[in-house]
């Protein structure tokens, strides 16, 4: 069943001037029952973004929507001459998976409003699980062959799902950035959500860390995700993503991460 969903969250403050803060999420596509949503924005090592990008490609997901806002930078992506929104929504109907892939760093308030719009949309379909892959920069990444994945969740039934997933449960501490706000909002609405955080280079694109994330995501959703093409193209990706990594570090100097 096809449908169109469009939502705008508005906050206007009038003093001597008017600031309008809004995020519009426009989705034209199927409404799935109890889907899985996987979402990432640029963060430490771009690990979450690289993982979601790889899932979109390997599962041949179809683009069905985008998010836009006055708070987002005046930028469009270009692929083979065609412009596209840097924050896009994808679907794989067979596997009942939605993916949100953000290719621009978003400052704090933008993330809050983007989260509200995304949650209003996905909440209607009562998702089985929201997965939030991200990276945490570690000083000794150079000496780590296989980066470890850390897991956090908002409900006990999600903890059960995570039992058979590679990685360690975060015992205590704090998570910041997009996964934190999404987890908080999911908790408020009673939506099951988990974040998977991988050790990575803080400010260098890290496809190796994304491979560890993909292994965990694959186990969590029960869908095989082939990673050999990502490993083969690792150096090309690192070159291609240098600019985005540089901008991400400037726009969000406190990168999403974990403080234990």
């Amino acid at each position: 069943m096809g449908s169109e969903f469009s939502l705008t969250f508005n906050l206007s403050i009038t003093r001597n001037f008017l600031i309008e803060l809004s995020v519009e999420l426009r989705v034209r596509g199927p409404e799935l029952k109890e889907p899985v949503l996987i979402a990432a924005l640029p963060g430490a090592g771009l690990a979450g973004l690289i993982a979601v990008d790889h899932i979109v490609r390997t599962l041949q997901m179809v683009e069905i929507g985008f998010a836009d806002s006055t708070m987002f930078p005046p930028i469009v992506g270009i692929e083979k001459g065609k412009a596209y929104h840097p924050i896009r929504v994808f679907v794989n109907e067979k596997e009942k998976i939605y993916a949100i892939k953000g290719e621009i760093p978003i400052p704090g308030m933008g993330i809050v409003h983007l989260t509200s719009s995304v949650m209003d949309w996905i909440d209607r379909m009562r998702p089985k699980l929201v997965i939030l892959p991200d990276g945490v920069g570690v000083h000794n990444r150079l000496d780590i062959e296989k980066p470890r994945v850390f897991k956090a969740f908002n409900m006990e039934n999600v903890a059960k799902l995570l039992e058979n997933v590679v990685g360690e449960v975060l015992e205590h501490g704090y998570i910041s950035g997009f996964p934190a706000i999404m987890l908080r909002e999911a908790e408020r609405r009673g939506i099951p959500a988990a974040t998977l955080i991988v050790q990575c280079f803080p400010t260098y694109p890290d496809p190796g860390a994304a491979v560890s994330l993909l292994e965990a995501i694959s186990q969590l959703i029960g869908v095989k995700i082939e990673v050999s093409t990502l490993e083969e193209k690792s150096e090309q990706l690192r070159m291609k993503l240098r600019e985005l990594m540089d901008k991400t570090a400037k726009v969000t100097p406190i990168l999403p991460g974990y403080v234990g």
Binding site: L142, E235, E243, D246
Partner: protein, 113 residues
């Protein structure tokens, strides 16, 4: 400064300067050392030319990625004076790490009477 102008400045593309690609790098000043890392995808250690003075690090590296020749060039000014004779460098997975002792930070223990 308007938000739009801030965005424009942040998103000014810097990598297409003539004379080589500027790699991403980080400088951390520790208690006794300065640690510099440089992201050099595709580079092997034998293809790195590294020079260190008391106030700066200069490097050049070449490699080929997917058949395309790449030349990295970077000069990094250091925030403190260092002792280049004590510098150590290693390359792992295309990331170069340089550790250089800070000048005048060699401590000798003194007995208190």
């Amino acid at each position: 400064m308007s938000i739009e102008r801030i965005w424009r400045e942040i998103w000014t593309f810097i990598s297409f300067r003539p004379g080589g690609i500027e790699p991403l790098h980080e400088v951390e000043v520790g208690r006794d050392n300065v640690r510099i890392t440089v992201d050099l995808p595709g580079v092997r250690k034998e293809d790195v030319k590294l020079e260190i003075s008391e106030i700066a690090v200069r490097l050049e590296a070449v490699c080929s990625i997917a058949g395309e020749g790449i030349c990295y060039k970077k000069e990094i000014e250091l925030p403190v004076e260092v002792d280049p004779s004590g510098a150590k460098a290693r390359l792992r997975g295309g990331v170069l790490e340089i550790v250089i002792p800070i000048k005048g930070r060699k401590f000798h223990s003194v007995k208190v009477e």
